[in-house]
């Protein structure tokens, strides 16, 4: 890697709270955000269902709207609003709001699995329900998966490369790597990267129920008794910056992006593959350039589904070895649920905080170890760690695997 890449800003919104700092505090204190919520398909659908989900505070945008007004936020879908609020926090922390670099030498790359699902379902409920066949003219721009990046670009005056990535549960991991690549290619000095998702909607939840991916009670990564994931909504953004650019303007360096691995199983739409996951993890491990015996923090994909966790644990053992179980594994979806396209970015934010604090937040909802998932899980309470580097995993339906390496 020719150019080193610093992380100079973090933003996060999820069921753990509004803001990266609040997110980190909740994760450390073991305060989970999963609760029972009712999903009502409306008068034309079946009756409402109650399911576990992890949703951000209802007023998550109020701070943003106080600072920036509603001109942009009022016209976007919930997924884009989550991205916009997280991006604002990250850019403020980086000290880049109104900075000249945003004009031409900055990219915005955000990942989302589905885009404006809330808008789509409400519009179709009206349309197919024949209450009125009028469709709101803003439906298309609100639904499009690039609605989030456009909103961020408009709010902050970014005129460089702006695009979205979409790869289901790996979307924001691909976004981080793409943004970093733009810096490494010399096309920009700053990349606003991350992702968001807001698909805890009645129709979408029914789809996830149909594929039998949802947990009956809660998310129990790598534990006996795990039976699925819990849908989460939220967004997270990192400001990546050419290290020389960051140093020249005296920015606080929150961490460093070291590289990432990306593979495709080319195998099955829903079943994971050990080879594909291991290969991505191996690429990221190599990018991290671990010294012999060096501990690395692993922010697992850890969805709590039977197959993913078993496969991921096997990959971790295959790539990082098993001797002494020296590598602490965290699985924060047990606290903030699965943000689908936004998960990897949120987990990267938490991993960077963990590296800085030298503390690993606990995996929640654990019942008992599963012999098929043997890894060094951080259980019970926050654990002091030696690791100065972390691998953040994201494995998506369709066999799309990403692992990112960070240091702090």
């Amino acid at each position: 890697m020719s150019r080193r890449i610093a992380v100079t800003g973090l933003g996060a919104i999820s069921a753990l709270g509004v803001g990266a700092e609040e997110t980190w505090r909740a994760a450390c204190e073991g305060r989970g955000g999963i609760a029972q919520h009712s999903f009502d398909p409306g008068s034309h659908g079946p009756g409402p269902v109650t399911l576990p989900a992890a949703l951000p505070p209802a007023d998550f945008a109020s701070g943003y709207e106080t600072r920036y007004g509603r001109k942009i936020s009022a016209g976007v879908d919930r997924f884009a609003l989550l991205a916009l609020c997280a991006a604002a926090e990250a850019l403020e922390q980086a000290g880049l709001v109104d900075h000249a670099v945003l004009d031409q030498r900055t990219a915005v790359v955000l990942g989302h699995g589905q885009g404006g699902q809330d808008t789509l379902e409400k519009s179709y409920e009206r349309y197919f329900g024949a209450r009125t066949q009028r469709m709101h003219p803003a439906t298309v721009p609100k639904v499009m998966v690039s609605g989030g990046v456009s909103a961020v670009a408009m709010q902050f005056g970014v005129h460089g490369p702006v695009f979205a990535t979409s790869s289901a549960c790996a979307s924001s991991a691909h976004a981080v790597i793409q943004g970093a690549g733009l810096i490494q290619a010399g096309l920009v000095d700053v990349a606003v990267v991350g992702g968001s998702e807001a698909i805890a909607t009645p129709g979408c939840m029914a789809g996830w129920q149909a594929i039998q991916a949802l947990a009956s009670e809660t998310c129990r990564p790598f534990s006996q008794g795990r039976d699925g994931m819990v849908m989460g909504e939220g967004g997270a953004v990192l400001v990546l910056e050419d290290l020389r650019h960051a140093e020249a303007r005296g920015a606080e360096i929150l961490g460093e992006y070291l590289g990432g691995g990306m593979t495709s199983d080319a195998f099955h739409l829903t079943q994971p593959s050990l080879d594909g996951v291991s290969a991505a993890l191996r690429q990221a491990r190599d990018a991290a350039a671990l010294a012999p015996g060096e501990q690395v923090l692993i922010a697992a994909h850890g969805t709590g589904t039977p197959l993913n966790d078993q496969n991921e644990a096997a990959a971790i053992r295959a790539v990082l070895g098993h001797a002494g179980q020296a590598h602490p594994v965290i699985a924060t979806k047990s606290a903030h649920g699965h943000l689908i396209g936004g998960s990897a970015a949120l987990q990267a934010v938490i991993a960077l905080k963990a590296l800085k604090a030298r503390l690993a937040p606990p995996v929640l909802n654990h019942i008992a170890p599963d012999p098929a998932c043997e890894v060094d899980l951080v259980l019970g309470q926050v654990r002091p760690i030696e690791a100065r580097k972390a691998l953040v995993n994201a494995f998506a339906f369709g066999g799309l695997n990403v692992s990112m390496a960070f240091a702090a």
Binding site: S43, A74, R131, T132, P137, A138
Partner: protein, 83 residues
């Protein structure tokens, strides 16, 4: 549900993102920066809130905010809810 002029001005301020204090009867929509998209967004919200379907093509040319508010109040308070 019946609407008052004050209810409607609150809704316009919210949906068209205009300072409530600037919503005076003789202001034109152009003066207030209210676009045709804002008007449609407002009509959708009226439908959600009062159950009255007002197509954008129904609305006559209005010279100012006061005329628009009078028209909308007339429709909302005259019609039975659609659903």
């Amino acid at each position: 549900m019946k609407a008052t002029e004050s209810d409607l001005l609150d809704l316009i301020a919210q949906e068209a993102i205009v300072d409530r204090q600037k919503l005076v009867r003789d202001a034109t929509l152009a003066d207030l920066g209210i676009s045709s998209l804002d008007v449609i967004t407002m009509l959708f919200e009226l439908e959600e809130r009062y159950g009255v379907v007002i197509e954008e093509g129904d609305m006559p040319q209005v010279a100012n905010l006061g005329e628009m508010v009078d028209y909308l109040l007339g429709r909302i308070n005259a019609e039975e809810p659609a659903a």
